[in-house]
């Protein structure tokens, strides 16, 4: 600290202020005010400001990285003021913060529970050193002994690659992170690297948003930028982009908070979600899926004639819902009361399908008239999709 004062003549950080003027010092900290004191007096005074001093040492000598997303994220994690230009920043004073840090400050980041603690093992200036723990939010109440222990940021890769059913997770921010693991006592560097491995680029984009500098690329900008096989996605109709967002971007599918809209000034009706970190443009998964939908949306609506009972029509919607909500695995074997039950679906196929299509299904032409299509209460088979999607 004296080295810093010698070279910079001033320390002003998190409520600790020391100025050096020749051989005398002025110090201000919570409960302390000493003006024009000697170096010895300063040291004595600082004995009563241990938290402020060790806090300064941690942030200014260990973390450093002013204006970096890493530093801002670490400060957010422990509830410290965010050092935003032109703002005082919200956050607690050092003494109060140390009190809570002893118990551990908990934050949620997607499906992560992040805990910041004061390291119990370090003496001297380093007494303010923080250590960090990461576990799944759903494991919050589990004993650490029940969780598999990890220590290297690169270990996180194996946790993020597959979901609990062993399926590959192409989207890291899907709410399908497996449970049952624990990183404990990470350094600030390893902590940030681990979060990065689990939710890449979320810290950087969150940081930009904190500074009102998130560079959002809306749907149309992103779509028009595409080339090659994705060149066509800007032809997707405006209303279909709503369905894309509802299909892919709501909280049940992705933990990022969608900030992109159709275009500047033309917001999508679908809820962007409540995620702590923002989504600044349609991701590669959305773009790839949109390519398929662009091709599909180039087809015209048709009116079809096929024979179904009312219950069978309802069963089709149950099957679509079950697949769309990812709950097919949850339907019990013998639960024949659920239309998406496997036996129920097999029965419907046996009765109504011929190969891969509905037996006898044919397009209704104008000559045959539309009347026969309009069965009681179910005339909106084709429109159902639209209605359902406008709810959002």
């Amino acid at each position: 600290m004296f080295d810093t004062l010698e070279s910079e003549h001033e320390i002003a950080f998190d409520g600790l202020s020391i100025t050096a003027d020749g051989g005398t010092y002025t110090v201000e900290a919570p409960g302390i005010h000493e003006a024009d004191c000697s170096a010895t007096d300063l040291e004595t005074a600082l004995e009563d400001a241990r938290a402020a001093v060790t806090n300064w040492y941690f942030w200014e000598r260990l973390v450093e990285g002013h204006d970096t997303p890493r530093r801002a994220f670490l400060r957010w994690c422990e509830g410290a003021p965010l050092e935003l230009e032109g703002h005082d920043g919200h956050g607690s004073a050092v003494d109060d913060r140390y009190e809570t840090l002893r118990a551990g400050v908990v934050r949620h980041w997607g499906q992560l529970e992040l805990t910041t603690r004061l390291s119990p093992a370090v003496d001297g200036h380093g007494q303010g050193q923080r250590v960090y723990d990461i576990r799944h939010v759903e494991d919050a109440d589990r004993d650490r002994g029940d969780l598999e222990q990890y220590s290297e940021p690169t270990d996180a890769r194996e946790l993020v690659t597959h979901d609990a059913d062993g399926r590959y997770r192409p989207l890291k921010t899907a709410p399908t992170l497996v449970t049952g693991w624990h990183f404990e006592g990470l350094s600030s560097t390893a902590f940030v690297e681990t979060v990065r491995a689990i939710y890449p680029a979320t810290i950087a984009n969150w940081h930009r948003e904190q500074h009102d500098a998130l560079d959002i690329d809306h749907w149309l900008e992103t779509a028009e930028r595409q080339t090659g096989i994705y060149d066509i996605v800007d032809e997707l109709p405006r209303e279909a982009v709503e369905w894309v967002a509802e299909a892919c971007c709501v909280d049940s599918q992705c933990l990022k908070r969608r900030e992109w809209q159709y275009e500047e000034g033309d917001e999508l009706a679908v809820d962007g979600g409540d995620g702590v970190f923002p989504c600044r443009e349609p991701c590669s998964l959305v773009t790839a899926a949109a390519r398929k939908w662009t091709v599909l949306e180039s087809e015209d609506d048709k009116t079809w004639h096929l024979e179904l009972t009312t219950s069978e029509l309802n069963q089709l919607t149950e099957i679509v819902d079950a697949v769309a909500d990812g709950r097919t695995d949850e339907i019990r074997e013998a639960d024949v009361y659920d239309g998406a039950n496997r036996y129920r679906a097999r029965y419907l196929r046996a009765k109504r399908m011929d190969g891969e299509t509905f037996a006898g299904a044919h397009e209704v032409t104008d000559d045959e008239g539309h009347a026969e299509h309009a069965e009681e209460g179910h005339a909106d088979g084709e429109d159902h999709t639209e209605d359902g999607h406008d709810d959002g």
Binding site: P69, H162, Y168, P170, P200, I203, T227, R280, S284
Partner: protein
């Protein structure tokens, strides 16, 4: 501070696609040559679009883990990284000779050294040979062996074949293998006829692909007649028409690939200390630098 950003294709479907990228990035991290090493993908996260902002260093070396110059290296990656004033002319390349271009990006205050792809670097020749050594478990493999380097062919990208030809010529000039041939998946000479084209009793087949996937783990083994159905697997070596095929799988999975990434960055001005020597020691490879 200097950072290395490895940009690769990745996959929405295949978790193995990104694995070589992570492996080589880890190797380079262990050398300590860069303050930061980041992986970035077209199909995975962090996306090309958002990787530069995750880097703290102001000097960033971007190396494409791609085999050839073409659509991805010339159009997609520069666009998604927001490389300002980029044009393929900045590489002044004949299709295999790109080194680097120094540029700025639209979303961060950094200097970007955008390097040519790993696949066309001279050091790649050594990785192909190293791959042959690995699959035969023989550091002196050559005499009595043929070597086939396999690529897509020109249907997808003209420069893809150029890269294959380039390394094939260089390995031939080593006078190490009895015969060296470039074979393709979608043009003549086709990999399907490897045993017609090559006379050696033992043939090492090295696909010039970044990662194992559909082509290297399904198409090529079946096309060669190494297996009837890729799901049944195949022997290494496996016998086809009385000749032994030592099928190596994607060259990009070879540990020594980390060397090529480093050489690309070093050629662009990165200070990498003794990283090449470290990687050579760990992976058993021979650095091209100084040849």
């Amino acid at each position: 501070m200097q950072a290395l950003v490895i940009v690769a294709h990745g996959s929405h479907l295949n978790p193995g696609s990104a694995q070589p990228t992570y492996n080589h990035a880890d190797t380079i991290r262990d050398t300590g040559a860069f303050d930061e090493v980041r992986e970035s993908f077209w199909k995975e996260e962090p996306h090309f679009r958002e990787v530069i902002r995750t880097v703290e260093a102001d000097e960033v070396y971007v190396v494409p883990l791609f085999i050839s110059e073409g659509y991805f290296t010339e159009e997609v990656i520069p666009r998604e990284l927001r490389l300002e004033d980029w044009s393929p002319d900045r590489w002044d390349s004949d299709g295999t000779s790109a080194t680097q271009a120094t540029l700025e990006v639209g979303d961060a205050d950094k200097v970007i050294h955008y390097c040519g792809p790993v696949g066309t670097h001279d050091a790649m020749t050594n990785v192909i040979v190293q791959r042959a050594e690995s699959v035969t478990d023989d550091p002196d493999v050559g005499e009595g062996f043929g070597l086939a380097v396999v690529g897509h062919g020109t249907e997808r990208n003209e420069n893809s074949a150029k890269a294959i030809e380039y390394h094939t010529e260089r390995i031939r000039a080593m006078d190490r293998f009895d015969e060296v041939m470039a074979l393709y998946m979608d043009e003549e000479p086709e990999i399907d006829d490897v045993t017609d084209y090559m006379d050696a009793d033992d043939i090492v087949v090295v696909p010039l692909f970044v990662a194992d996937g559909f082509h290297t783990q399904e198409d090529i083994p079946e096309d060669m007649g190494l297996t009837e159905d890729y799901r049944l697997g195949w022997d290494v070596p496996g016998e086809v028409d009385g000749q032994r095929i030592w099928y190596a799988g994607a060259v990009g999975t070879e540990d020594f690939m980390a060397d090529v990434l480093l050489e690309r960055a070093a050629d662009a001005g990165a200070d990498i200390g003794d990283a090449l020597e470290q990687v050579a020691a760990w992976t058993g490879g021979t650095p091209a630098t100084g040849d």
